[in-house]
Symmetry: C2
Subunit: 250 residues, 2 copies
Amino acid sequence: MAQNQVSTLKKGLLVLELVKQCQGITLAEVMKELQLSKSTAFRLLTTLEDMNYIYKIQTQYFSGPKLFQESTENRSAKDWAALHSIYQVAQNLQMGTYLGKVDGTDLVMTQVLHAPFQHSADEEMGNRSKLHLSALGKVILAQLDEGKLNALLDKMSLEPATANTFQDTQLFRYHLKAIHQDGYAFDDEERNVGIRCVAVPVFRNKEVIAALAIAAPAKQISKSNIKQIATKLNVGSKAVTKELEVLDGN
Amino acid sequence: MAQNQVSTLKKGLLVLELVKQCQGITLAEVMKELQLSKSTAFRLLTTLEDMNYIYKIQTQYFSGPKLFQESTENRSAKDWAALHSIYQVAQNLQMGTYLGKVDGTDLVMTQVLHAPFQHSADEEMGNRSKLHLSALGKVILAQLDEGKLNALLDKMSLEPATANTFQDTQLFRYHLKAIHQDGYAFDDEERNVGIRCVAVPVFRNKEVIAALAIAAPAKQISKSNIKQIATKLNVGSKAVTKELEVLDGN
DNA sequence: CTGTGAAGTTTCAAATAATGAAACTCGCTT
DNA sequence: AAGCGAGTTTCATTATTTGAAACTTCACAG
């Protein structure tokens, strides 16, 4: 019996799971399957029935619709816009928050949150840019292994967007190394004048799968608080990873 | 506290339902909402989390995917083919079992079961016939109120299918009155030579909504056992009604 | 650095609830 | 009528739950 578990609740949930697995099950079968006395099985089943988790037709119990009702949160696994962890980051930092993934040689926004951080910014989701042009894209590139990075750089033609952008692949690789070392990427008004951005990688099974970033007016992000912001982003990144694992049933 | 309920299980399920309703909830909020001590709330939440019903991201709990996983039975509310009660009737009587509904002036088969009564007979489902030509259709007509019956009969042209069928509406109405009185309709090889059929109505909110029937070789259905079969069908009919109510969240 | 408060976790005696053997009820079959 | 199986209830014993309080950890402010 693991610590801090309520064994009676656990028992009841095991009964529920058994009923859910079966195309109908009788009281006697529940007794036998879970080694319960008749009256215990009866009471557990009755409680589940009274609370509408199961129903009974003649001698058999079946799982009821309550198990399949959607919660207030409407989502499926791997729906990035539904991840609670991203909302938590946004609310914690009180800055625009972004999650982006790789699609070919592009960075695609899969979640964008602006104040009051309750709903996705639908009009910005799906926005694309070349990987090397944003902090999100660069922090992902910085975490790729040599082979994958080479393959991606081969596919990309580096084009300058602003005077601050790197034109030479070799210099770009050094830049990525620095980002890798820092653990975050910093965008200093390179994409939008007056806006700064900090991005960190999101990992899954030791591989980078996405990037998590905040963006805010330049006066909110200074040399003195970048490290702090990056630390909080990393906490959020780990929470995203965990949430994905849970939602995938790992 | 109602009888035969396990209060600890109930408490745990109330916690689960609260978590499911909220876009994230903290231990403190659960305590407050359900008037539980800190350690009790903690243990209930921990048990639910350990069994994968909920998950925790930093200080907040969210409902997990386990609640939405489909059970072995794949179905939605009002999917007639998914009703367990019909399977129970078939297995009890060990005869071909049918459920039919009204569509316009037709009787449509919405579930058909043959031995070994594990799967729907898909090729027969959706089969249509005129209401007056089958025991299922007739038992439905027999339970309609005068106005609805008149409206339906007006829309229908009665055509003989076999020599045993009624050609005259007046006689047909008497026939329906007899069926109403009996509480079941009996098809004596009128549709298929060698096959007999017994059908009863299925009610919902005091209105006939469908018909439930069995069909078998003539030697399995005799004058002496019709009443018995009809009684069992009526039990099944009530079980169908109940199951529909449960699935509709009544 | 210290102190504070909040969240998380654990302890343990008292209180409460769960348990299960057995009795009872009901319906069906022989 | 008796027997059987399913469903329901009883009640003394046992096990579990409960909650106050202690402890731990963390973040933040001064």
